[in-house]
């Protein structure tokens, strides 16, 4: 009789775990989405030759605190864009490393100090005002992004119109 109860409870727990796992699989967490976006941004960007030589890997730098955990590494593992391998780099500041894509989490203010040929991605509309190029925004709990075109032009980073089309707003 006792074992029957145990079994029933175990079955309920197991099913609950299964359900939550499925839920996680179905709707990835915010940062999992952002990690995927980060990688995809790189696919719509063309860097100047000086910034990215052929066959040179594309470095995605996470500046400061890393909110992605293992998600970004898993995603980027073995990925390449055209002939460029994709590499994740964690750095305290953008000047410490040669980055093609630089994600600023909490360290949004540093974006203005980034050199030419680096795509800067940050959080919130304020990030654009402080000179960032792409900013994640949440809209109805969906991850979307705004684009600051003048900043891109200034940095010599060219963006595909296809990316502009899926952006929430584009600052001309």
């Amino acid at each position: 009789v006792k074992t029957g109860w145990v079994r029933r409870i175990l079955a309920i727990v197991y099913q609950f775990l299964l359900a939550t796992a499925a839920l996680r699989a179905q709707s990835p967490s915010e940062f999992e989405v952002k990690a995927a976006f980060l990688l995809n941004f790189a696919r719509f960007i063309e860097w100047p030759e000086a910034a990215l030589a052929p066959d040179e890997p594309i470095h995605i730098c996470v500046i400061g605190e890393d909110p992605f955990g293992r998600a970004l590494d898993q995603l980027v593992h073995d990925e390449s864009i055209d002939s460029h391998k994709v590499v994740v780099v964690r750095a305290p500041s953008s000047s410490d490393s040669t980055c093609e894509v630089a994600y600023f989490g909490k360290a949004g203010k540093e974006a203005a100090r980034t050199g030419a040929g680096v795509l800067t991605v940050g959080e919130g509309v304020e990030f654009l005002r402080s000179g960032g190029m792409i900013a994640f925004v949440l809209e109805n709990r969906r991850v979307r992004f705004d684009i600051n075109l003048p900043a891109m032009r200034k940095a010599g980073v060219r963006v595909s119109s296809r990316l502009l089309r899926v952006a929430r707003t584009v600052v001309p």
């Binding site: 989405v33 976006f37 995809n40 696919r43 719509f44 990925e79 390449s80 864009i81 055209d82 979307r144 992004f145 595909s160 296809r162 990316l163 089309r165 899926v166």
Partner: protein
Amino acid sequence: MTRFWTPFRDWPIRRKVLGVIIASTGLALLLAAAGILIVDSVLFRYSLERDLSALSQIIADNSTGALAFDDSKAAAETLGALRARPHLIAACIYRRDSTVLARYFRDGADKTCPERRDKLWTGYVGTSMSLSRPVSLKGANIGTLAILYDLSELNSRAFVFGAVLLPILLVACALGAVLSARLRERVSVPVIRLADTALAVSGTRDYSLRASKMTGDETGVLVDAFNDMLGRIQSRDEELRHMLHDREEANRELMRLNEDLERFAFVASHDLREPLRMITVYTQLLQRRILSDAGPEAKELAGNIITGARRMRELIDDLRAYAELGAPAELSSSVDLNVVAQKAVSNLALSIQTSGAAVTWDALPSISGYEGHLVPLFQNLIGNALKYRRAEAPRIHIGYSAGEQLQFSVTDNGMGIAPQFHETIFVAFRRLHGTEIPGSGLGLAICKRVVERYGGTIWVESRPGEGSTFRFTLPATLLAMRPAERATLT
């Protein structure tokens, strides 16, 4: 194959030629149309595939952003552009994990997404074409675009094509038939003329008709040969007609002569009998009353007169019998030849008695005939045997045997006849002997005439000094059946 052509075999040439023209024109045009249709549909399908491939490429490229950032709204907008293609039934954009990011369906279309494949693929589903194209972005596969395109356009295109082509085909055939009318005439008219002439010739038997030659081809050769043949028939026909005419003339002349002769013989024989009887009667009176006292010389002279008169009467009788053979007579009555032989013997009783002859005969049949013909036949043959005898007493036998023909023979032991005379003895008035043996010269002529009238033949087998056998045949059809025989047959 032969069965297929049978209904057309009796068609007139005119229609056959028309049929050939229409059939060949129609067939050629039909083949051309089918060829054009096939090539068109193949080319159209090919261009459609290319077009669709290009279209899908554009859509795929345009949907990379939406796919990369999982923006179903933007993807749906991209697909919405397909509304401009009315034959596009459905299009779906799949994410990398095979879930659907965006879909588009034509109004009224079945709301199921077309099949997706991992590689670029084109396939046919019913009357539709299905296309699946991976969407790649900078070398990475980020999703799939699947499209379903309605190909019924192709069928409607074929239908329109047929609707245009069929009337053209019919008009072309009709036009070909009309335009070829003169050409057809060139081929068929000479043959038709020839056939008409042939019909006219066989209808009217006028061999002077000629077919007109219009061409130098096989028909022309035929016309020449036909005319040549007609010419030959014509000349032969004329020859034949001349010959027939001549023969008819000759026959008529001959018959007239014969009739004249027979009439003369009959009249002469009849009218000569009376004066002859008077000569005989009065000479006998003279002998009995006046010359009884006269010398033997006078008696002998008177006897000579009587003998001469008797001979003349015999001659006249023979002549009359011969003439009567030409006259029509009832031949159907049954005559017993035994009776006939008996009568002939009775008529010759005096000669038989004086010569001491013995006349015998086999059992003879009854035949259908006329006694007036048959008695002289037997009498003359027996008479000849008696007349041309040798020193010993004559023995005469009438033989008979039935075969395919009835065969009779009259055999004697007389003086015989030299072979060179075997033919001439049957000719009238031809005599081998002078006055030493009296005779009219008509006996065997009468026999020959009787036998031939009944459809038989007569000849003699004889050698001098060995006797003679006269043989004659009569057709077996003359055999009169006795009542008993008739009964067994029926």
